[in-house]
């Protein structure tokens, strides 16, 4: 039986699934950081990038 299609599909999923989660997580955190910086000058000043403005 030809095995390579099964192997290729496994590797594609192994890259695709974690990749989608990783990209969506970084996009989401970037959007949250920009929104927080826009509405909270304190976060903008102290650097929301490191999260210093995000404390509650």
């Amino acid at each position: 039986m030809e095995l390579w299609p099964y192997i290729a599909a496994s590797y594609a999923l192994g890259i695709l699934i974690p990749g989608v989660f990783a990209v969506s997580a970084f996009v989401r955190v970037g959007a949250a950081r920009r929104r927080l910086a826009a509405i909270d000058p304190r976060a903008n000043r102290s650097g929301a990038r490191s999260g210093r403005g995000g404390s509650q």
Binding site: W4, I7, S10, G14, A25, A43, R49, S50, G53, Q56
Partner: protein, 243 residues
């Protein structure tokens, strides 16, 4: 422990950790997968199909380890009522479900050429499918309440009840006569695996573990910031209300 559970401390610490975890994950996964796909030997019995192991085993490990993390957050949520534990539990759920789906899918892709079937109702496969449904149940339950705190509590109870599935997954291959092979790597004994196959498996497993941690930390960072945004908008709205 509580000091690091402070949202501000968490954002600072995770902001430092995530780039290192992400870089480590990329390097280790690349090494593990290229080594496993190109340089590792084929199995004498399974041939090249054994290369699916370099995806399937890390996914299986993270399906269970992710659920253990979800259960640990649930304990912190129920015992200490810590909001950061609630947010982390909510963010672990979808990622754990994704890795469990990856485990099931690659298991099917491995099973078809080896067993002649995409799926069998084997104890190991079935218990991992139950784990997938537990993740989906948790995802649905935490979002099913108007009051998020009630959702977090209900989700935490479900997560703790579901922990019983973890030893069933682990020992299913010992307790029942399964088509799935017994554990090749155990904590107590020497691995029953050729060393040239073991190294790439360790690299890919460690790489995917770092990736899982980086994804969960990043999602939790976003959730903390989003909650801060909601709190600021509500405070602003209530300040503008007349009277």
């Amino acid at each position: 422990m509580h000091r690091f559970a402070n949202p501000g401390q968490f954002l600072r610490l995770s902001g430092t950790l995530v780039p290192w975890l992400s870089a480590g994950a990329l390097v280790l996964i690349a090494i593990g997968l290229i080594w496993g796909l190109v340089f590792a030997p084929a199995d004498w019995q399974q041939g090249n199909a054994v290369r699916i192991m370099y995806i399937h085993v890390p996914a299986a490990w993270l399906a269970s380890a992710g659920y253990a993390g979800l259960a640990a957050c649930s304990v912190a949520s129920l015992v200490w009522r810590h909001p950061l534990a609630d947010l982390a539990a909510v963010e672990i759920g979808p990622v754990g479900a994704g890795f469990t789906a990856l485990c099931l899918a690659t298991g099917s892709l491995w099973g078809k050429p080896m067993w002649g079937a995409w799926w069998v109702w084997d104890a190991r496969l079935t218990s991992v499918l139950v784990l997938f449904f537990l993740y989906l149940g948790h995802i649905a339950l935490v979002r099913a309440f108007d009051d998020p705190v009630r959702g977090y509590r209900a989700g935490a109870i479900l997560a703790l009840v579901g922990v019983v599935d973890l030893p069933i997954i682990k020992f299913s291959v010992d307790w029942w006569n399964t088509l799935h092979q017994p554990d090749t790597i155990t904590l107590t004994g020497a691995p029953h695996m050729y060393i040239a196959m073991l190294w790439p498996l360790l690299f890919s497993t460690l790489g995917y573990t770092l990736a899982f941690a980086a994804i969960v930390l990043t999602r939790t960072r976003a959730a903390v910031m989003e909650r801060r945004i909601r709190a600021l908008l509500m405070a602003r709205a209530s300040a503008q209300e007349p009277g």
